[in-house]
């Protein structure tokens, strides 16, 4: 049989306010770690980022499982062996999945939603591609399987980053959409 609790449903008391902390009524300690890193990116990512500067997307092929892997890596995680060759891929692909975000990084509601998703890159094995933004379309147009193309930053502004692609926009038959 359940024992009757002597505790009230909620204990009476006063909430701690920001003021109490600012006025040092509450004892606390504060610390800001200064940690900085500079990661070596290795041969696969170096080449990938370098090629983005040229407006090109490059992958690696594993001859054993015949996958064309993008983003590229020097070893195949399925076969557990080195990958074999570089392959240039198209800067087009199809939407694998997407979401429409109505919140910004600080969880504030925004007027123009951000379109984000995964693009499978043409020329790579199915479901190989990367996460990116979508643009040049209305949110309601975005759908799984949609053909998209990269919109690149002007060459002089590229710095060897995945953001050298601004976003992916829809491909329309007979050329680029305006």
């Amino acid at each position: 049989m359940a024992k009757k609790q002597a505790m009230p449903k909620s204990a009476p008391g006063t909430h701690v306010s920001t003021k109490d902390i600012v006025n040092k009524k509450i004892a606390y300690t504060w610390w800001e770690p200064e940690v900085q890193y500079s990661w070596s990116v290795g041969p696969a990512m170096s080449r990938f980022l370098e090629e983005l500067k040229n407006g090109k997307i490059v992958g690696r092929k594993c001859r054993k499982c015949r996958r064309v892997i993008v983003p590229p890596r020097m070893f195949c995680e399925h076969c557990y062996g080195p990958t074999d060759e570089w392959v240039y891929l198209k800067d087009t692909g199809s939407v694998e999945t997407y979401s429409i975000s109505y919140l910004d990084a600080d969880a504030r509601r925004i007027k123009e939603p951000i379109l984000v998703g995964v693009v499978s890159i043409d020329g790579a094995s199915p479901k190989h591609g990367f996460m990116h933004y979508f643009g040049g379309m209305k949110p309601e147009e975005l759908h799984i399987g949609m053909k998209v193309k990269a919109v690149w930053k002007p060459k002089e502004e590229r710095e060897g980053s995945i953001r050298d692609i601004i976003y992916f926009e829809p491909v329309k038959k007979g050329g680029r959409k305006k």
Partner: protein, 415 residues
């Protein structure tokens, strides 16, 4: 009961910087070599994978998630131990002992050259209320509610010219060494001899990075960092990755490999209160006791043929030997001077070059030390081979400011 064997070892070269490789490729190299050494395919044969890593050393939150691909563990049982490599070995040991796993791979690495602010990460491991503020600006007393340093007087990075304005967290080694010298009668010169020996041993270890032909005077004349600790008493950090593959005895026989046995291990942590806890490596004492019992070792000094102990600071080698029961208090320095700790002595210690000669590889320390013991027991140590070694001990300490250590006992014969 199920005996546990080492069936494969692999490692990268150890270098102070490795800008040519990403940390994933670095781990892949060590693991692939270990799997080739064991003659197994990780995608089919390894039942469980363990990596030993600390998020702040890596620069990733939840580093565990970034591990599987490069160790062969994608879509396989895989987990990370936040500890030294020997903690990983211990976990693997238990997994095999339960009978649940036949083959377990353990990886640990240091890619510390990617970490620009090593000192700050060490400092971040201090208690935030009581001990971290001690590292704040000396002239500015810290009290609750105030930052230890302000935007106006930001904390300088390691190696910055303003470093003297505040204390570096390695001062703890100064406190401990002072205590050790006083308690045991060991001298700074004797500690310097550890540095000379280990850097000399490193010449015969192809993967070591800090080999050097130096004299005791060189160490003595190197500048005081945290008196009595001098700059050459400190093991410099290094990048390196090691992988060890363990298997049940039955599996090792099936594979037809000539195994080395992991016959015992132990681990222990002291209280984090720096000013209250002991200064005589009690963690090593307790961990060793556990490991000796498991391996059936009654007289460690007589039964153990070779040891690799943690030497992140020169005095640590001597202190650890004493804590492990391999020397009486104050005796380690005598053994060193008598040449007993040399490759040809009666208690060869840190034949790999130790961390002073190989480099401080952080959480990979325990596996680097285990690697050396296994290499020696296999008889594969080349020019630094210790003849007729049957029983070896590897010991690690997680470094400043921890009071955590682990011990592993390897044997040629199953126990």
């Amino acid at each position: 009961m199920n005996k546990v064997c080492v069936i494969g070892v692999g490692h990268t070269d150890f270098n102070s910087m490795t800008p040519d490789m990403e940390w994933k490729e670095f781990m892949y190299e060590a693991c692939q070599k270990a799997y080739v050494d064991a003659g197994i395919d990780p995608r089919k044969d390894v039942d469980s994978f363990i990596t030993c890593a600390e998020d702040y050393y890596e620069g990733f939150g939840i580093f565990d998630e970034f591990v599987p691909d490069q160790i062969g563990a994608t879509l396989r049982p895989c987990g990370t131990v936040c500890g030294d490599g020997i903690h990983g070995l211990g976990n693997a040991f238990m997994q095999i002992k339960t009978g649940l796993m036949d083959i377990v791979a353990i990886e640990a690495h240091s890619k510390v050259s990617d970490l620009l602010t090593f000192g700050d990460v060490v400092l971040f491991a201090f208690d935030p209320v009581f001990e971290r503020p001690i590292s704040g600006p000396v002239e500015r007393p810290n009290f609750a509610g105030s930052p230890s340093y302000t935007k106006k007087a930001p904390k300088p990075l390691i190696g910055s010219s303003k470093e003297t304005e505040r204390i570096h967290p390695y001062f703890l080694a100064g406190l401990e060494m002072q205590h050790y010298l006083r308690k045991t009668g060991t001298t700074e010169e004797q500690c310097a001899k550890v540095v000379v020996k280990n850097k000399k041993n490193a010449f015969r270890n192809p993967y070591a990075d800090y080999e050097a032909r130096i004299r005791v005077e060189d160490v003595m004349e190197s500048e005081y960092m945290f008196k009595p600790v001098k700059s050459l008493d400190i093991a410099p950090t290094v990048d390196g990755a090691v992988c060890i593959v363990l298997a049940s005895h039955k599996k090792a026989k099936e594979l037809g490999v000539d195994p080395i046995y992991l016959s015992g291990f132990g681990y222990c942590s002291e209280t984090p209160w720096l000013s209250t806890r002991g200064m005589d490596a009690g963690y090593a004492k307790v961990a060793a006791k556990m490991a000796y019992k498991m391996a059936g070792i009654k007289k460690p000094r007589k039964e153990i043929d070779i040891v690799e102990v943690d030497d992140k600071f020169s005095y640590k080698e001597l202190q650890h030997l004493e804590s492990l029961g391999l020397a009486r208090s104050g005796e380690a320095a005598e053994l060193l001077e008598e040449g007993e700790l040399d490759v040809k002595g009666s208690l060869p210690t840190n034949t790999s070059g130790g961390l002073l000669g190989v480099g401080n590889c952080l959480e990979a320390t325990g596996l680097q030390k285990s690697l050396e013991i296994v290499t020696q027991l296999r008889g594969h140590a080349g020019k630094r081979q210790v003849p007729d070694c049957e029983v070896g001990l590897a010991q690690s300490w997680r470094g400043i400011p921890t009071g955590t250590g682990a011990v592993a006992i390897f044997t040629r014969e199953g126990r």
